[in-house]
Structures are given as C-alpha cells and as structure tokens.
C-alpha cells in the first residue's frame, strides 16, 4: 500500500514538474503585465511542432533543435507582445486577455493547417520503456529526465530573475511599470523579454511532454489548464508559488486518481481553483490581494 502510494506520488511529481514549467510561464506574464495569457498553451504547441519538424523532417540533431525551438518560440511570444498586444493601447485588461484568446485560436488553426490534426510520435533522446526499479517503484528514463530538466530550468529561471540585471529590470517593471520607465528602464523591451522567456518555458514543457503524451495540435490543452490551476493554487504573482503549486497539484491529483476516484481526477484541478479562490484568493504564496490603483 505504502509502495503503491509512493508510486502514485512519484508519477505525480514527474507530471507536476511539467505543470510547474507551464505555471511559471503564466505567472511571469501575470506578474509583469497582469495579463492571463490564454495563448500560452498554443504557443508551446506551435513550438513543439517546430521542434518536431526540425528533428524528423530536416534531420537536425535534437539538442540543436531544442535550442533553435526555444529561440523561435521565445521570439514568437515576444513578437506577439511587441507587434500585436502592445499596439492595442486602447484595450482594457480584459480586452487584452481576449486578444490572447484570439491569438490562441489563430495559432491552433495554423498548426492544424500546417501539420494536420493526426497524432504523431515525437522522438526523444530518452527511452520511455527503459525503467529504473527502486524496490517495487518504477520510473522511466524519460520521466526521470523530464523531472531533472524541469528542475534545471526552474533553477535557471531563478538565477535569471534574482541575480542578473535583466532580472532586476523585470522585477522592477512588474512592481511599478511607471516608476521603472521613469528611471530609464526600457519597459517595452523588458516586457517583450518576459513574453519570450515565458513562451520558451512553455515550449520546454511541450518538448518534455510530447514524447510521453504524443504530439497533436491539442496536446497542451490539458497541461495549460493544469498549469493555470497550479498558478492559482500557488498565487498568481509568485514564482515559488507556481513551483510548489505545480508539484503539489501533480502529486495530489495522482493520489486522488489512485485512491479516491480516477473518473474525477480530471475535475480535481478545477475544484482546487474554486476552493482556493473562495478560501484564499491570493493563493498559497501570493501577496494579500490588493487592488492596484
């Protein structure tokens, strides 16, 4: 029983680390621009398809393909902010969020037209069938790899935000955009960078997920919703909250599916959103909710 619970928890942790990557992207954008980016999942899907084409059609070596993809997707996200969202000056916050929704639909349509709606096998450097045993507990090479890469990316993000000048600028812009601008910080470029970083995080989740969940134009739908739930759980403006929220969601969900009801496993994340918003709207790690004036 304990071993089984541990197995469920470990599976949950592996899934949760990918929720974290998605949630971090959502949180970064929410922190800097107060925008909930509905296109986050579709940007990631688009990027994952780019990686797929690079590897399977053009024969690019996977590590190089991953890097190129991170770049391309980063530029896609930044470009969306710089050329589309920024131009909608008159739009209210809600209006801007609706623009991201529109962008999501457009991107999804492009993916279906360019690559088709059928499911594809995404090649991976790690094997999914090769498993490591730890007593009765098993973890596949692929799950272990994504777990490690997930944590590595989280660490990299931490370093970027906390110990670089760019990160300082990002934090300044998120705290007070007007003051940051007055002090000579190029806010627009910093915001575009935030969009780029967030999109790159999203596509890394996509690249790690695709070998496991197979690749199709809607593969990020569920991870995006879960990442969103994780962000709400941890606190929409707290990156550490996103990490804890994502991992907690993954583990709780897996245990719930295993021991309570597998039929309602998919619904659990949404129940958590409702619960968090009712009891502690700022989330586990968020600052107390104050209306910005």
């Amino acid at each position: 029983m304990a071993a089984l619970a541990l197995q469920y928890a470990l599976n949950g942790l592996a899934t949760g680390s990918l929720y974290v990557l998605v949630a971090l992207g959502i949180v970064i954008l929410y922190r800097t621009s107060r925008i909930l980016n509905f296109a986050h999942g579709d940007v990631a899907t688009f990027g994952t398809f780019v990686a797929f084409t690079l590897i399977t059609r053009l024969g690019v070596a996977p590590p190089l393909a991953y890097l190129v993809t991170l770049g391309v997707t980063g530029f896609l996200g930044a470009g969306f902010y710089y050329f589309i969202l920024r131009r909608a000056k008159e739009a209210t916050l809600l209006g801007q969020i609706v623009i991201t929704l529109g962008f999501a639909l457009v991107l999804n349509g492009i993916v279906v037209v360019l690559w088709g709606a059928d499911t594809k096998v995404f090649p991976s450097l790690l094997s999914e069938t090769k498993v490591y045993h730890l007593g009765t507990i098993v973890i596949s090479q692929l799950s272990l790899g994504s777990l490690l890469v997930g944590f590595l990316l989280m660490a990299l993000l931490y370093v970027l935000v906390q110990s670089t000048k760019v990160g300082l600028a990002m934090r300044a812009v998120s705290q007070n955009p007007l003051a940051a601008q007055t002090l000579g910080i190029p806010t627009r470029r910093v915001l575009a960078l935030s969009w780029g970083v967030a999109s790159a995080l999203g596509v890394s989740a996509g690249i790690l997920l695709a070998p496991v969940t197979l690749l199709d134009p809607f593969m990020m739908l569920d991870p995006f919703l879960k990442g969103f739930a994780a962000a709400v759980l941890g606190g929409m403006d707290s990156p550490p909250g996103a990490v804890v929220g994502g991992l907690a969601l993954g583990v709780v969900e897996s245990l719930f599916g295993g021991f309570v009801s597998v039929a309602f496993k998919a619904t659990l994340a949404f129940a958590i959103i409702v619960l968090v918003l009712t009891i502690r709207p700022e989330g586990l790690f968020g600052r107390e909710y104050k209306k910005r004036v």
């Binding site: 089984l4 197995q7 469920y8 599976n11 592996a14 899934t15 999804n108 349509g109 279906v112 088709g116 709606a117 059928d118 499911t119 096998v121 999914e128 069938t129 498993v131 098993v138 596949s140 997920l209 496991v212 969940t213 197979l214 199709d216 134009p217 809607f218 593969m219 739908l221 569920d222 991870p223 919703l225 897996s254 599916g257 295993g258 597998v262 039929a263 496993k265 998919a266």
Partner: protein, 396 residues
C-alpha cells in the same frame, strides 16, 4: 420618396422570396438536374480532430465519383462543417446544412452525443441520414427511422463479442475495461457487463477505468488497471489514448492480454504505441487495409485525391464505407430522383457488397444495414483474420 422606393424594393424582395420555393417546388431540397448536395458535421478541430479524416475521405471519394461522371448525370457536392466534437456546434451546423446549404442528405456525423443532439431535428425535417458514426444500438426501438440508414456496428454487441472471445478462446478469467467517459466508452462497457453476466461466472469484470478526452496523463489509470489484477484489458478509447494506456502499462511492467474496439484498428496504432501494440485482439466491420485488394484500391484512389489522408488510412476508408450505400441508393433510384424514390431504392438493397463495406441489407422495416463483425489479431504491424463473421441480432 425614398421611403416609397424602399417599400417597393422590400415588396419585390419579399415576392421573390415567396415565389422562390414555388418556382422550384417540383424540385426537392438538395436535388437539381445537375447536382445532389450532401453534408456532414465532423470534428475538424479540437481534441477529436483526428476523426475528421472520415469527412476528408468522403470528400476525396466524392471528387472521384464526380470525375467518373457523377451518378445519373448529377454531380455530388459535399458540404463539410466543423463541430470540434461539440454537440451544440453540431446542432448549429446541421441547421445550417439543411436550411441554408439545402442538403438532400447528411452522411456520417461523428460522435454518439452529437448524433443524439441533432437526431430530432434531422427526423423532423425529413432529411436522409446515412450512418451517423454513433453506437448503432441507440437506434434500437427508435420509431421515426424512415429517413435513417445505418452501416455502423453496435459497441454494445461488440463489447459482448470481445468479452465472450476473451473468455472462451483466450482463457481470460478477470477482465478490466479502459473506456472513454462518454456514450462511446459507456456503451462498450455495457456490452462487456452483459457478456460477463451471460457467461455466469466464467469471467469477472474486476475494474472499469474511465478517462476524459482531454486528459493525457494516464499514469494513474495504468496503475489502477494493474492493481485490479485483470489478465485482460478491453480498450474503448481514441487511438491516442489507446496508445498512451498500453505504453503506460508496459512501462510499469503490466502486460495483460489486450482487446480493443474496431475504432483502434487504425494502423497508426503500430506507430503510436510501438512494440506495446503487439498481440492485440480487435474487431472489424469491413476488410482492413492491407487484407483486401478492393479496399487497398479504394485507398489508393483516396490518396490520389488527398495525399494528406496517408496519415490516416483507416478513418478515410471508413468514410467511404459510410458513403457507399448512399451512392448505391442514388444509382438504384434512377434519373428521376426524389426523397421517396431514394428511400424505396435503398430498401431494395440486399446483401450488397461495396468497395469497402460488405453484406449490406436494408428493407422496409430494416435500417440496420450490417449486423456482423469479425475478430482480428494485430501482430508486428499486420492483421490476421481469426474468425468468420460473428452475427448479432438485427434491432432496428
């Protein structure tokens, strides 16, 4: 003056609109001397978009038929609408197809829930409806079936046949079901339950694990199946989820016997599931690609008209299987086509073989065109036919 002109114009427009139907009154909806219009609503986007290939297969075959000169001098026009697998959108699409596009018939329409949602509308508007791809047992006992013709199997009977085969031929004692949590999966599960009850203790249903269409993390589902201790798992899933679950099961070292619905006979399973898709027992309701020259020939035709269908041979050829009886009905109805003549012609179809679908029978009281499936084994990228046709009762 301006207002007067407007009134004249409005009257004229109203007059034309009123006269329109009477001028063409002799013609029925969707039939002109040179054209027959048919339509369908299918998931071309959204998580079930994969099945949209059925519609694309129909579209490609319609083009082929037209290039052969059409039927009795009429070309076919196929109007396909996307419903993302959402019943409300299917309703809107069907209304548009009937009221604006003016279709003579609806061919297909994917999803049991979607078919349910549009059923009453189609019946009330007397639209010919050929093979909604929905569990055919939903029509059992359905009275208003004059305009309906179905060549799609019943998941309930299929589930029962698979269970019986597992118990009697494979020596399975404990069976588990992995199913999609909607009418598709639930009907399959129902069939398994019925067979388990009928077999009186020879086989037990130890677990039924549902999944939602949008979910892609199936690790806990696989663990649940393993914990149930079943020696066989029956799958009612999309190709993607079918592949995911067998991979997850293989990962945790659980290798039960696998049985699956005909919806998973798509050869793409060998690619998606890899080595895990070996020694799997499935059913089929038409000869599978690679086992029959006529079916393979049809596939080549489809690929010629739409090369993208190569990624999806099973679904595209299934589209032809659904369309074919309609084409035969048109041929039999002759040059003076009306809805009633078409229905009478369809009712003369007896044990008819098409390019893909075989042994179709309709009649004045019979709308269930086929009532048989057979069992195949998938092994190393190929199918072996294991049984002859297995019949089940005609119910509508």
């Amino acid at each position: 003056m301006g207002r007067f002109l407007w009134r004249v114009l409005a009257l004229a427009v109203a007059g034309v609109m009123l006269a329109g139907p009477t001028l063409t009154g002799a013609q029925e909806r969707g039939i002109t001397p040179t054209e027959v219009v048919l339509g369908s609503s299918m998931p071309l986007s959204g998580p079930a978009a994969y099945w949209g290939a059925v519609g694309k297969g129909i579209d490609a075959y319609v083009k082929y038929v037209n290039d052969q000169g059409g039927i009795h001098g009429r070309k076919l026009r196929f109007v396909l609408r996307d419903d993302s697998y959402l019943p409300p959108r299917a309703v809107a699409n069907v209304r548009e197809l009937v009221e604006r596009a003016g279709v003579f018939a609806i061919v297909g329409l994917i999803g049991t829930a979607n078919a349910f949602a549009v059923r009453d509308y189609i019946v009330q508007n007397r639209v010919i409806w050929i093979t909604p791809t929905a569990d055919s047992s939903i029509w059992a006992g359905f009275r208003q079936k004059r305009y309906l013709f179905v060549t799609y199997p019943s998941y309930v009977h299929e589930g029962a046949i698979l269970t019986r085969y597992a118990a009697e031929k494979l020596g399975v004692k404990n069976v588990a079901v992995f199913y999609q949590n909607d009418l598709y999966g639930q009907k399959g599960l129902l069939g398994v339950k019925r067979a388990v009850a009928a077999l009186k203790g020879a086989v037990k249903l130890v677990s039924a694990v549902p999944y939602e269409l949008v979910v892609t993390d199936l690790s806990s589902h696989a663990l649940k199946l393993r914990e149930s201790g079943a020696d066989a798992v029956i799958l009612y899933a999309t190709p993607r989820h079918g592949a995911l679950i067998v991979r997850e099961m293989a990962k945790i070292g659980y290798r039960p016997r696998l049985l699956a619905s005909f919806t998973l006979t798509d050869p793409i399973m060998f690619t998606l599931a890899g080595e895990a898709w070996d020694d799997v027992y499935l059913t089929a309701f038409f000869p599978l690609p690679g086992t029959d020259p006529k079916v393979d020939e049809t596939l080549q035709i489809l690929f010629r008209y739409d090369p993208t269908l190569r990624a999806n041979p099973f679904n595209s050829v299934a589209g032809v299987a659904f369309l074919e009886p309609f084409l035969e009905g048109l041929r039999r109805a002759g040059r003076d086509l009306t809805t009633d003549r078409f229905i009478s012609a369809m009712e003369t179809i007896r044990n008819w073989d098409g390019q893909v679908i075989r042994g179709v029978t309709f009649g004045p009281d019979r709308r269930q065109g086929i009532n048989r499936i057979y069992i195949v084994r998938a092994e190393k990228g190929r199918y072996t036919k294991l049984t002859d046709w297995i019949e089940y009762p005609v119910e509508f």
